[in-house]
């Protein structure tokens, strides 16, 4: 069916070199490296530990959202509500802890649960009615956005208790300050990379994205799996909410308005196919890094921010073109 169904194919083992060359992440990785080399030569401040730590810190929120987005896109779904759900989660955590005088950890826990609940609802509506995920999550985007503004009364929440901003703290590694939140994001990427490539659950997710019918005939409980994927994605949005709060130090009702498209951008640039069944979270990690590196590098060079948007647009079209060409050739 496709030339690069790496984890799903599994029966014959191509040579390591071949696997590397055919991995969907090869192109994005090359792009990332080229960009890094280019910026290293263009500006003195780019190639430093501190700057790389900064870039990872700047992509951790969208990166975490994009893990959930990758899972959903792998099942041939899409989630437009992720940024809005995250915003609602973050404002809930912030308000409950700062003004509702709940213990901060309980507030965080409730925020995570609510985000997972939004994911569950997305999954159930998609599967049980059933409705196209685009429509379900478009609706949920508006619902979560409105709830955020109603619940926050349009007010930014400041003076948050320590545990909410703890992940924004740093520890020194050599001469570089690393944010705890960056580690959380990297750990989540590794966890889901393993879950997708090394577990039965992961194989089923790819199978579902390739063909629901075929997956069902092979004994995959597709409905339950889909709902599970949306719920896990929701939980990840909850983690993103906590990372967001820790990064900015405030609960901001305006947050996350373009993060749905930003996360889809990262997924696509990272080589995951919007048609489902092909791609990886490591590709997505490279995707968010590409966006982050361009934003940071161009800023350091003194290029106006509108060019970052321009280049991101070009990269998206390029990535999808490459995906389409490789699908055609593989047929």
């Amino acid at each position: 069916m496709t030339a690069t169904t790496t984890p799903y194919a599994g029966l014959t083992t191509p040579s390591t070199a071949r696997r590397l060359l055919t991995a969907p992440t090869t192109g994005p990785l090359a792009a990332l490296l080229i960009a890094c080399v280019f910026f290293s030569f263009s500006t003195d401040q780019f190639l430093t530990g501190g700057n790389f730590s900064l870039i990872v810190q700047q992509v951790m929120v969208v990166g975490t959202l994009a893990i959930g987005q990758t899972l959903i896109i792998l099942t041939a779904g899409i989630d437009l509500s992720c940024g809005a759900v995250m915003a609602f989660g973050s404002i809930m955590m912030a308000r409950m802890a700062a003004e509702g005088s709940l213990p901060p950890l309980l507030a965080i826990g409730l925020g995570l649960l609510v985000c997972a609940g939004f994911g569950l609802l997305n999954g159930v509506l998609t599967e049980k009615i059933p409705l196209p995920p685009f429509i379900v999550t478009l609706g949920m985007l508006n619902v979560a956005f409105a709830l955020t503004h109603i619940y926050s009364k349009e007010q930014t929440v400041t003076e948050l208790p320590g545990p909410l901003t703890a992940l924004g703290g740093t520890f020194p590694l050599g001469h570089t300050d690393i944010t705890y939140g960056s580690l959380v994001t990297i750990a989540l990427f590794l966890l889901f990379a393993y879950a997708l490539s090394g577990t039965g659950w992961g194989r089923h997710v790819y199978a579902l994205g390739n063909s629901v019918e075929a997956a069902r005939l092979n004994g995959v409980r597709t409905s339950r799996l889909t709902i599970g994927v949306y719920t896990v994605a929701g939980l990840l949005y909850g983690v993103a909410a906590l990372l967001l709060v820790s990064r900015t130090g405030v609960g901001d009702p305006q947050a996350g308005q373009t993060d749905n498209l930003d996360s889809i951008t990262a997924v696509v640039i990272g080589g995951t196919s919007l048609f489902g069944g092909r791609g990886s979270v490591l590709g997505t990690f490279i995707g968010v890094l590409i966006v982050g590196v361009f934003r940071n590098g161009l800023q350091l060079m003194g290029v106006a921010s509108i060019y970052q948007t321009l280049i991101t647009g070009v990269l998206v079209i390029l990535a999808v073109t490459v995906d389409q060409i490789s699908r055609k050739k593989a047929r």
Binding site: R18, S42, N51, L54, T156, Q254, V314
Partner: protein
């Protein structure tokens, strides 16, 4: 299922990425080459972060900063949020600018409160931070504020509207910005103060948020007219909202007998005053805010003295139908000094 991996495909993929990247990079690299070269020769780096890239107000601000940077031998870095209210985008821009070694940052905060922790981090690294146009909350979160006195801008059009009504009973609609944004609150309060009515006065019959957007302004005005057809004074947060209100009024044939007042003094808005669509507007000067800001950073780099406190960059009432007792300039002056 095909079990036949095709290496040439991924080579194609790499090649395609590489080619396009190289193109993209060369294209933008050539535009910025002169700037990055300058940084080597020791020009002071100044960062300007606006709410968005697209609003003419901020375009003019950028123009003022660029001109002033050139005059003072400084290098200007610019960035903006993706939309009005994009706090995370502004935080990222601050971090990147600090990493690139700016001496000072000029910022129009999208969220007056949410931006504060990020500004504190920048200031802790010795960066001079000046808020332009919009104050932070608290105002002490920045070293200095260069802005229009928005309360006064509101007061001027309030006094004007009061005089123009000549004692007729007023039914006022206010087309506001958004809840909790200081600029909008100050202009609104200033208008009521100038008009001489309290916040809960029954003459204010309709208040709607427009986000300063023409389409939303039109919708808001339509709804207000639905609620209270007898509205005869319309306060608007800015000229796009005012033009939206004008369109709504015109559709009802009411544009001649309703007084619209506004704030901003953009060129489109000032022209609308000349055309009689808007009765009067309070003109502000974004170019001056940015130019003064760049100068302050350059002088901080020279002698280490930080600008502080609030600098009023001025506001002028522009109208062609002057009222006795209210100082104003005509639209010829307004068009000479407008922005956008």
């Amino acid at each position: 299922m095909s079990r036949n991996p095709r290496p040439h495909l991924s080579l194609l993929r790499v090649a395609a990425c590489t080619g396009a990247l190289a193109l993209a990079l060369t294209a933008c690299g050539s535009g910025s080459g002169s700037e990055s070269a300058k940084s080597g020769s020791g020009g002071v780096k100044v960062g300007l972060i606006t709410k968005t890239d697209t609003n003419p107000f901020f375009v003019k601000m950028k123009e003022g900063a660029e001109r002033s940077a050139k005059e003072n031998g400084a290098q200007l870095l610019t960035a903006a949020g993706k939309f009005d209210g994009d706090n995370a985008g502004q935080v990222t821009a601050i971090e990147n600018m600090v990493a690139s070694g700016v001496k000072g940052i000029l910022i129009t905060p999208s969220d007056s409160k949410a931006i504060v922790p990020a500004l504190a981090k920048a200031r802790a690294k010795g960066v001079l931070v000046i808020a332009l146009d919009t104050p932070t909350e608290p105002q002490s979160a920045v070293d200095a504020l260069f802005a229009t006195d928005n309360l006064k801008a509101g007061e001027l059009i309030g006094e004007y509207a009061k005089a123009a009504m000549k004692g007729k009973k007023a039914k006022i609609a206010t087309l506001d910005l958004a809840p909790g944004v200081s600029v909008g609150v100050q202009r609104h309060d200033g208008f009521l103060k100038g008009f001489g009515v309290g916040a809960k006065d029954p003459s204010v019959v309709c208040s709607q948020d427009t986000a300063g957007d023409q389409t939303k302004g039109q919708t808001a005005m339509e709804n207000c007219l639905q609620k209270e057809p007898g509205i005869n004074v319309v306060y608007t947060i800015n000229e796009p909202a005012a033009l939206g209100a004008y369109t709504a009024l015109k559709a009802k044939g009411r544009e001649k007998d309703v007084l619209i007042v506004s704030v901003d003094g953009g060129c489109t808005g000032t022209k609308a005053v000349k055309d009689g669509k808007i009765a009067a507007t309070s003109q502000q000067y974004p170019l001056k805010m940015a130019a003064e800001g760049v100068k302050a950073v350059v002088s901080y780099a020279k002698d280490g003295k930080k600008a502080s406190g609030y600098t009023d960059t001025g506001v002028t009432l522009i109208t062609d139908k002057a009222q006795a007792g209210v100082d104003a300039k005509d639209t010829a002056y307004g068009l000479d000094n407008c922005w956008g």
